[in-house]
Symmetry: D3
Subunit: 313 residues, 6 copies
C-alpha cells in the first residue's frame, strides 16, 4: 500500500497512521488547533486539525494510531496534511504500532546470528568473553534501539543493523590489510555505541536520559567494560585497549572523544563508523531525488546538497 510520503500536493488520502508528536496551538483569532506529526513506514508528514476540542487533545497523543482522511497541501515548500476526518482506532481495526515504524532491512534473527558468528570468530579469549558478556547483558535493548535520535539509522534495530554493516565492512577491509587485528575491530565495533542503550530513552520517541546528558554513551560504556572485566576477573591489557577503542571512536576531543585514536584499530574503527553512517545518509537522501537533481541539504554531512547524475537511475 502507498505510504504517506508518496502522496503529492493536491492528493486526497485515507490512511491508518501513527501519531509521533502532537502540539496544541492557538490561531491569531484565538481558536485552538492541533499540529500532529503522522507517520508510517514510508516516513512522516505534518498535519493540522483545526478547531480541535478538548476530547481531541486527549485522544490524539503520541503512540496513538488514527484513521485519517484529508488533503495534501503545500506549506513553506513542504507537504502538509489538512485533516478532514480523523478517528482513534480500536481492536477491530487490526493495526499495531510496529506496523508503522521503519525497521532495519534485515530481520532481528539474521542480525543476532551474524553478531553471534563474529563473536565466535574471535581468537583472543579475553576480548571474546568481555564482548559476549556485555552483549548478553544488554541484548534486548541492543536489538531494539536506533543508532541515533536523528541523522542516520534512526529506526527500530538501527543500532544493531549499523553494527552488522560495520562488521561486514571491517571484514572486507581486514582482508585487504592483513596487519589489522580482527578481534579488536569486531569487539570495538560491537561495543562502540552500546552505551546508547543507557544514554537514550528507548526505541521510539527517543530522547536523552539524565545519565546520557551528564555522562554520555562513551563514558558509560568505558565504565561497563571495566565492570565486566572485574566480574569476569580478566586482568590483561585487552581491557584497557577495548576501553580505549570505545573512548576514542569519535576521533577528536571536539567530537566527544577525550583521547584521539592511539591504536591502529581504533583509527580504523572511527573510519568504518563514519563510512557506514555516511552511506546510510547518502542513500536515504538520494532515494528521494530524481536523476539530474540535487538532494535536500543533509545537515550531518556539513549541510551539503548532493547531485544525482542524470545517467544514474
Amino acid at each position: 500500500m502507498k505510504g504517506i510520503t508518496h502522496f503529492a500536493v493536491g492528493d486526497t488520502i485515507e490512511l491508518y497512521l501513527l501519531i509521533k508528536n502532537a502540539t496544541k496551538g492557538i490561531t491569531n483569532t484565538g481558536k485552538p488547533f492541533l499540529t500532529l506529526i503522522l507517520q508510517d513506514k514510508s516516513g512522516e508528514m505534518e498535519a493540522k486539525l483545526w478547531d480541535s476540542s478538548e476530547i481531541d487533545e486527549k485522544q490524539y497523543i503520541p503512540q496513538a494510531i488514527v484513521k485519517v482522511s484529508g488533503d495534501v497541501q503545500s506549506y513553506r515548500g513542504k507537504s502538509q496534511l489538512k485533516i478532514r476526518q480523523i478517528r482513534p482506532t480500536n481492536s477491530s481495526d487490526s493495526v499495531k504500532v510496529s506496523d508503522f515504524l521503519e525497521t532495519a532491512p534485515i530481520s532481528t534473527d539474521e542480525i543476532t546470528s551474524k553478531i553471534t558468528q563474529y563473536i565466535f570468530e574471535m581468537k583472543n579469549p579475553n576480548i571474546q568473553r568481555i564482548t559476549r558478556h556485555l552483549i548478553k547483558k544488554y541484548q534486548q535493548a541492543f536489538f531494539e534501539y536506533p543508532a541515533a535520535t536523528k541523522n542516520h539509522h534512526e529506526f527500530v534495530s538501527g543500532l544493531a543493523y549499523h553494527v552488522v554493516s560495520m562488521l561486514d565492512l571491517s571484514k572486507a577491509i581486514a582482508g585487504l590489510y592483513s596487519s589489522l587485528d580482527k578481534d579488536l575491530l569486531y569487539s570495538g565495533i560491537i561495543l562502540h555505541d552500546l552505551g546508547k542503550v543507557i544514554e537514550l530513552s528507548g526505541p521510539v520517541s527517543t530522547t536523552y536520559t539524565v545519565e546520557g546528558n551528564l555522562l554520555g554513551h562513551i563514558t558509560i560504556m568505558v565504565n561497563e567494560i571495566g565492570k565486566a572485566a572485574e566480574e569476569l576477573d580478566i586482568k590483561g591489557e585487552e581491557v584497557m585497549i577495548l576501553q580505549h577503542l570505545v573512548l576514542s571512536h569519535h576521533g577528536k576531543a571536539e567530537w566527544g572523544s577525550p583521547k584521539p585514536p592511539m591504536i591502529k584499530e581504533a583509527e580504523i574503527l572511527h573510519y568504518i563508523d563514519n563510512l557506514d553512517a555516511k552511506m546510510n545518509m547518502l542513500d536515504r537522501a538520494l532515494d528521494r531525488t530524481n536523476p539530474g537533481e540535487f538532494t535536500e541539504r543533509v545537515f550531518a554531512l556539513d549541510n551539503r546538497s548532493f547531485y544525482k547524475p542524470s545517467f544514474h537511475k
Copy 2:
C-alpha cells in the same frame, strides 16, 4: 645555604646537587660529553661535563646525588654550569634525595588534617563515603604526587597542596554565594585530579603511564567512582553527579572533558581549579622578576609575559 638558581654568570660554585636528567652527546670533533640537569630546592641548571668517560656515563644518572664544583657561564641567554670537578656521593656525605626536591609550603601532616576536616564537614553521607573511600585507597600516592608534570604545582605533594588551596578558595566563595552545595564542591575538588596517581608514573622524574596516555586521569577517576559506589553499595544520583564533576572539570571538549559542566558546582569547580593554578604560575613567574620588568613568557598562560609594576616590591 644559597641554592643553585641564585648564582649568577661568572660565579664559581661548589654544591651537592641531584641529577634530574642525563644525556650523552658527541662534540663536532667526535668527543663524548654529558649534559646534566642538576637540581636542588631552588630550581635547576643545565651543566656540561666535557670529555666524559664510560664510568661517568654509568654513575651520573637520574636520581644520583653528586658533589660538583664549576663555573656559571651564559649560553643562549640562560645560565649553564661548566663542571670542573664532580664526584658521586656516599653515606658519609649525609645527603638524601628529598633534600633536593621542592615540596609544598605546608607539611604533609597539615595537608592531611585539612583534607580530613573538609571530608568531616560534608553532610551528604553518600558523597562523604565515596570521597573518604577513594582518598583512603590512594592516600600514599595522593600525598606525594605533583599536580602536573610541568606548568603548575609540579613538586612533591603538589597535587594535595593544590587540592587544599582549592578547598580553602571554595569555602570562601561558598560563603559569599550561599546557593552552592559545599559537599559537591569539596568532594569534586578532592577527586578531580586524583586519577593522576594512575596517569603519572610517580612523584619524581614524572612521565605518563600507558594507561595515562590511552585513557587519561579523567576517565580513570570516573571509573574509580563507579567502582567505589559498587563496593560501598551506594545507589543514589550522587554517584553520577560526582562522575560528572570529574568528567567535566576541564570545561570543554577540546580541553579533554567530553561533557561540559552541566551542574552549577561543576562550573564553579572548573573556575576554582583554573584560578588556583594560575595564581601558582603567576607567583612563580613574578618571584623571579624585578619591579618595572616583565616576566619570561609563561607557556600555560597563553605564552604571555607579565609586568611587575614598579611600585610593587
Copy 3:
C-alpha cells in the same frame, strides 16, 4: 502579590503591568493588532491585543503602566497573554514605574556605603584619588544602570550590585593569596565597567549609544582615567596600570580587549568578573527549575542547559 511569571497556562489574570515594548502587526486577514511585552518585578510576558485601534497604538507605548485582564495561553511552548480588557492608569491607581522594575537585592544606600568603604581601604593615594574622582563624576548613573542589556545583572542598580559582589569576592581571594595588590583589585573592579554609563542609554529600555557602538565602554573608560589623572595632576605609573586593568578585563582580543591581561591583578580581575556574572546567570536559571530537571539553555553560558540534582531543593 503573585507576579506575572507565576501564572500558568489556563489561568486568568488581572494585574497592573508595565509596558516594556510595543509593536504593531497586521493579521493575515488585514486586521491590526498590538504585541506588548508586559513586565513586573517577577519578569515579563508577551501579550496580544487583537483588533487594536489607533488610540490603542498611541496610549499603549513603552514605559506606560496599564491595568490588564486576560487569559494565559501557550504559543510555541511559551506563555502568552490573550488580553480581554486593558486600560491606561492614572494617578488614582497609585502605581509608579519603579514598582515594576527588578532591582538589586540590597539597597542603594547599602551599595554606596560598601563602595565608599572599599575606596577608603585603599592605601595607594594615586589609585584612591582616581577611583574616587571617577565614581563621584558618574555616581548617579553608576547607582542606577544595569550591568548589561541582557545575560546578567540586567536590572536597575545591576552594575553597582555586580561591582559590590566582585569587591567582596576579591577581598576573600586576596585573603588567601597574599601577594595580590588589593588597591589595584578594588579600583580595577570599581572602574572596569563604569564606561557603560556612557555606552548605554540609561537604566531602563536600555540600548547602545552611538559612542557606545563606535568606541565601546572599555575605550571610553580608558580615556576617562587619562583625563582624571590630568585633572588631578597625577603622574605615576598607576595611571597606565589602571588603564591596562580596564583595557584587558575582557581577557582576549576576540572578546574586546585589545591587550590581554599582563598584570597579575588584571588576570584575576577578569576571573572575578566572569565568576560573579556566571553565578548570577546560574542562580537565575536554576531558580526557575525543579530538582531533577534541566534549565532552559543559557545563551551566555555557551548555550548550555544545567541540571538541578534531584537531591537539591
Copy 4:
C-alpha cells in the same frame, strides 16, 4: 643484507649507500664539513664527513653512490653516522641507483595488469575512454612517481601502488553497498592524483614544479580531463562529473578542494583515499615499534603517537 636503518648506536658499518642530500657546513672553529643524507631500501641516516675537501664537495652530491665505513653515534636522540672512510663508486662496484630506492611491494607489471583490468570492467564508455586516454598519455610517469613527497607512499611507483590498493578497497566496499557506481569510483581513483606527474619533478629527490606550485595537481588534472573529452569528442555529463570527482577529492576547501564532494562517489573516493594513506602510514610507523611501546609522532596523523599493544607481535 642488513640495511642502514637496522644498525644501532655503537655499531660499525661498511656499506654501499646512495646520497640523497648533501650540505656544506662550517664548524665553530672554521673548518668545513659535509652533512650527507645516505639511503638504501631500508631507509636513511644522517652522516657527517668532517674536514671535507673541495674535491669531496664535488663528488659527494645527490644521486651519487658511495662506499662508506663509519660508526653509528647518537645525536639529539637520533642515529648519526660518523664517517671514517668514504669513496665514490664506479662500474666495477656493480651497483645502480635503483638498488637503493624503496619500491612498491608488487611489481610494475602486476600493477599495470590490475589497472588495465579495472578499466576493462567499466561499463560506461565515456568514463572508460577518458580514463584509458589519460592513463595512456601519462603512463610512464604514472608507473614511476611516488604518491607524495613525504608522509605516505613516498617511494618509486608509490602513486600507482596507492591507486591499486584504493581500487581493491573500492571493489570490496561497492560489494557491500550496491548503490555505488563502480565506473565512477574506479575512474575517480585512477585519475585523482594523476596530476602529480606534472605537479612533481620526478620519481626521486622529488620537488614541486612551478606549475605544481601555482596551479596544483587537482587543477592540472581537471584541465586534462576537459582536454581529453575535447580530443575524444565526448559531450556527456560524465566529463563534468569526473572533473568534480578529482576537484573535490581533498574533501574541504581548506584542504585544497574548492568544492566539497557533492556526488556520493566523490564522498566515498575521499574516504578511500584517506583510509589507504592512513593504513600505509600506520603500518610503517608500527613496523619500527616493539609491542608495549609507542611509535614516534606521525606528523600527517595530527602528530599522534600510536601504541602497539603488548599482545601484538
Copy 5:
C-alpha cells in the same frame, strides 16, 4: 516617477511592477493566497494577494509585468504591500521588462569601449590575445550578467560594470606603484569572474547551474584559459600565470581559491576585487540611511552595521 521603495507605511500606491518571485500559500483557515516579490528600478517589496484564484496563480508568475494598487503596511519591521487591485499588462500598457530592472550607472556602449581600450593598452601579445579571445567568446553574456546573485553588483551588466570599476582602480594604483605589471592586472581583472556566465543561469532571476555548483566559476575559467591558449597556439608562461590569477583571486583556500596568490599582481587583484565590491555595498547601504543613523546590517560585510556621521549629507 517615484519607485516602489520610496513609499512609506501608510501610503497608497498605484504602479506598474515586475514580478520577481511568486509563491502560493495557505492561511491558517485554509484559504489560498499569493506572496509576490514586486520590483522596479528602485528595488523590491513583498506583496500579499489574499484569496487568490487558480487563474491568479497562472498569470502572476516571475517575469510578468502587472499593474497594482494597494496599501503599504508594516510586517515584522519591513514594508509589505497589501494588494487591492492587480491586473496583467498587455501591449497597450507600453511597458517592457528592462524598464523594471536596475542597471549599471553607465551604458553598455561605454563599458564596451572602456574594456576595449584597456585590452588595446596591453603590451604583451600573449596576454592580450587570450583576453580578447575570451571576451569575444562570451561577450553577450558578459555585458548582461550581474556580478553575483546577491551582495554586490547584483544588477543587469553588474559584472561588466564591476570589471570597469576595477580596471580604473588598478590603473590608478599602478600609477603609484610602478613595479606592477599592468597587462597582468588588466587581463586578470577582465577574466577573474568571467566564469560566472557559465556558473550562473542568466541576467535575471539568477540561480546556479549544475556546472556552477559542481565546478564553480573559478575552475570553469581556468579551464577556458587553457583551451583558449590551445586554440590560439600560445605556449608561454603567461598562460599558467593568467590561470593562477583567476585561480587565486578569492585569496584563501577557505574562500574558494585552492592556491593563494603567489604572484604580486594576483595579490593586488584580490585586493582590488574586494575594495570595489565593498565600496558598492557600502554606498548602497548608506544611500538608504540618514546622517546620524546606522545602516541595516550588511551580511557580506561580516554582518556589520555602518554609521553615517551626522556631518555627512
Copy 6:
C-alpha cells in the same frame, strides 16, 4: 660602493659597518666569542668574532661603527661573516651612524611638505585642527620613526613615508569613488599609527616601551585625540569619528581593534593601510629574486613564497 648584502659566499670583504646587535657566547670547548649583527644601508649580516677578549666585549656594542675585514661563509643556508680583523672607528674615519641606516626613498623635506599639503586641503576645520595639533606635538619623532619593528617600512622615516604613500593612494581612490570623505581619510591616515612614537622606543634598535606593551599604539592615540580635542575645545562628532578611525584600523578584534570599522572611511583606511604595507613587503622580497624563481617565505604575508614570472625583469 657595494653594500654588505651584495657579497656572496667565498668573497672577502673590507668595509665600515654599524653594529646592530652584539651577543657573547661560549664555544663547546669553553672559549668566549662574539656574535655581531653588522649592517649598512643594503641590509645586514651575522658575523662571528672568535676568541674575543674583554676589551672586545666592551667596545663592540650596538650603535658602534667598526672597520671589518673577513670572509663570507655559509651557515645553515645563510651568509655569515668570519671576521679576520676588526677595529673601532674614530673621527678620522669620517663615518656617522646615519650613513649605515636605510632611509625612506624620498627626503624628510619632501615628506613634510606633502603632509602639510594634505592637511591644508582639509575642509572640515575640526578635523584639520586636531590633525595639525597632533602632528605638531609629535613631529620630530613622526619624521624619524619606522612604521614597524619588522615586516614593512622598518627603516628611518618609515612611518612618515608609509603615511605619504597611503595619502597618495587615498587621493587616487577618492577620485574614483566620489562618496568618500577625503578629510576623514587624510586625517585617519595621518593619525592611524602616530601612537607608535610612544609605543616604540625610537628610530633605531627599536623595541616596545612598557606603555606600548600594556596599552598599545591604538589606545594611546585614541586617548591623544581626546586630549587634543579638549585642549582645542572642539566638541563635534568629528572627535569620536576620528577616534573610531584609529581604533578600528586593524579591522578585527583579533587583530587588535576592539571595534571593527563602522564608518565607510574606516573600512577603506584599513584597506589602504594593508595595501601599501603589502606592496612594500612584496617589492622588497621580489627585488632580491630572479625572474623564474620564488622569493623566500614572507612571514607577514601568511608565510607565502611569491613567484617572479620569467617574463618579468
